[in-house]
């Protein structure tokens, strides 16, 4: 893996995520920004896809079960050439193809529709099962929020993935420790979520979700594991790279114009610094 290139891509994804949401002025900034490093590894180094043929039948699949992080996917797909980046700046405007939550009927690159929390992982599991039935080598990558894991259906899906030996499935849990009403530990404490998933029989790794090298290595480890689905718990900082959101734990953001300008300028600066390094 080219670490420098991947870090640069992550910085670009953060910048475009901010521009995408910033065009309207409000949205789910925090839970989008914390996934930029994962998206850079997946779309820059790991996944097989064709931006000109998003439904290519031998592609790898990506399911954003925490659908409200749509903007980070839209930024990634735009950068990778699924559509001109500017199109995503229509986010949530009338008749846009870029809604808050990812929709397979609207946005090139979106494999399955998500938004009602807990549902997306089941569809990811179904896709992984369908790929197995066809005897294909494609893999399915699914991102679940730690707050989302309050939903019982997440655990039904993990149970199914284990029982059906879906080793072509990797579930990422975005453990940013916050959900809408506050800290996950205060809302409905999971305890050790990695151990819980391990208890469901999955091959589990817990890593720094902002370390692109660690993310890449964990995915390679997961791919090497046969007979069981895998889970990678990403320890992340909600809002990472958004000056007004990082470290606040907020679920959505509606910063002032000045705050937007400051955040985008800081993100541009971070991107340029990496580009010129």
């Amino acid at each position: 893996m080219d670490e420098k290139k991947t870090k640069l891509l992550a910085a670009q994804i953060r910048l475009e995520t901010l521009r995408t949401i910033g065009a309207l002025g409000f949205g789910h900034v925090p839970g989008s920004m914390d996934l930029a490093d994962l998206m850079a590894v997946l779309y820059g180094e790991v996944m097989h896809y064709d931006p000109k043929n998003p439904r290519w039948e031998d592609r790898d699949w990506f399911v954003l079960s925490k659908g409200h992080a749509g903007p980070v996917a839209y930024a990634t797909f735009g950068i990778m050439g699924f559509y001109p980046m500017e199109e995503a700046y229509t986010l949530n405007k009338p008749h846009t193809h870029f809604p808050s939550h990812t929709d397979r009927l609207l946005t090139p690159g979106v494999d399955l529709t998500t938004g009602s929390l807990g549902l997306g992982i089941s569809t990811a599991v179904g896709a992984a099962k369908g790929i197995k039935i066809d005897g294909k080598d494609s893999r399915v990558y699914c991102v679940v929020g730690d707050g989302e894991a309050d939903e019982g259906q997440v655990w039904e899906a993990l149970h199914f993935a284990y029982a059906h030996k879906l080793d072509n499935l990797t579930v990422f849990i975005d453990k940013n420790n916050y959900q809408l009403d506050g800290a996950t530990a205060d809302i409905l404490d999971h305890g050790d979520i990695a151990k819980k998933v391990e208890g469901f029989g999955l091959y589990v790794q817990e890593i720094d979700g902002h370390d692109v090298g660690a993310i890449y290595q964990a995915i390679m480890n997961a791919q090497a594991k046969k007979g069981v689905p895998s889970c990678i718990v990403l320890d992340t900082i909600k809002g990472k790279g958004a000056t007004f959101a990082e470290g606040t734990g907020a679920h959505s953001s509606q910063p002032s114009k000045e705050q937007w300008a400051e955040a985008i300028a800081a993100s541009e600066k971070a991107y340029e610094a990496l580009k010129n390094a």
Binding site: S116, S122, T123, G126
Partner: protein, 324 residues
């Protein structure tokens, strides 16, 4: 579309579950895209045979219906033609959000089969007795909703389901039904079947499922009293055969709907919606009137919830009286 009406009020020795299981077996042999997902009820509907033949394509999702619906949607996204079975209660209420969001809203086709609707849940009782299942599916944009009357009709429906795009919901009793149709009957999803009609029909009975046989009995009783009525088997609740319905309304001037379902969100209300908008017509509703289910034999329950020929006869007479 022509049917061979038997209508002798005799039980079919075949169980309806076999109309599903054996027909699916034929379909799966022909088309390897077809998948069948069950929720620990294969033994109730004789579909274990599918799992034995095609373990990869016909499989268990266990007692986790909501996940099963999401899995079905994901399978559909990979190009599979997916059937999903559970009891009607779970195949509607328990999976409503995933079947709505992950399948219907997402533009993915899943053919849901809900067994033992309404009073046919019998000895499983109120916890397993859905009177609102089909109505829930009527509420989802783009769905197809079906309530077959007997073995032959259900078999014909299952054969057509692979070609039905979007989410469909078919409710059927697992066990034996009264035979309405003979072999060789042909049905088209979306088209109602007129079983009796004359130039002097004073009312039209629009019914489906187990109520078709009751309607035929009501027809005979009314004929004996010199009252002529039209009988329409409206096994497709959605898309509703509006042309047939509106013609019946125009010809007869009164409609009686009969359903093994809550009248508040079922066939009666679907019919009333069309009539109110396009041809206001006197209507009487035979069906479950805002009540929960309860345990008991199907015969007892049909009496208890006023789902009998006598109830249809009384409703027809009320409707005719209201015409003035």
């Amino acid at each position: 579309m022509s049917v061979n009406l038997i209508g002798k009020h005799e039980k079919d020795p075949r169980a309806l579950r076999d109309a599903m299981a054996l027909t699916l077996e034929e379909l799966m042999a022909e088309d390897k895209r077809i998948c069948y997902v069950d929720c620990d009820l294969m033994n109730c509907v004789n579909t274990g045979r599918l799992h034995k033949k095609w373990p990869e394509r016909a499989f268990e999702a266990g007692i986790a219906e909501a996940n099963a619906a999401g899995v079905a949607a994901g399978l559909a996204a990979t190009g599979k033609i997916v059937f999903l079975h559970s009891f009607g209660t779970f195949a509607s209420r328990r999976i409503y959000d995933p079947i709505y969001m992950s399948a219907a809203y997402a533009g993915l086709s899943v053919r849901v089969l809900g067994s033992d609707p309404g009073v046919t849940a019998a000895f499983n009782g109120g916890t397993h007795m859905p009177f609102e299942d089909a109505g829930m599916y009527l509420s989802i944009p783009g769905t197809t909703v079906l309530d077959p009357a007997d073995y032959v009709q259900f078999q014909a429906i299952v054969r057509q389901l692979p070609g039905v795009e979007g989410v469909s919901y078919t409710r059927f009793a697992r066990k034996s039904h009264i035979t309405v149709y003979g072999e060789g009957s042909a049905f088209t999803i979306g088209k109602g079947v007129t079983l009796h009609e004359s130039a002097n029909d004073a009312a039209a009975i629009v019914c489906s499922g187990i109520m078709v046989d009751e309607a035929l009995k009501a027809y005979e009783q009314l004929a004996g009293e010199g009252i002529s009525v039209r009988v329409i088997d409206m096994f497709t609740w959605k898309p509703l055969d509006e042309a047939l319905l509106l013609k019946a309304a125009a010809d007869c001037g009164a409609i009686v709907t009969a359903e093994n379902h809550s009248v508040g969100n079922g066939l009666g209300s679907a019919v009333a919606n069309v009539l109110a908008a396009k041809k206001p017509t006197i209507q009487e509703f035979v069906g479950v009137q805002g009540r929960f289910g309860q345990v008991g034999a199907q015969d007892f329950l049909m009496d208890e919830y006023n789902l009998r020929a006598a109830d249809i006869v009384a409703a027809v007479k009320r409707a005719i009286a209201r015409k003035g």
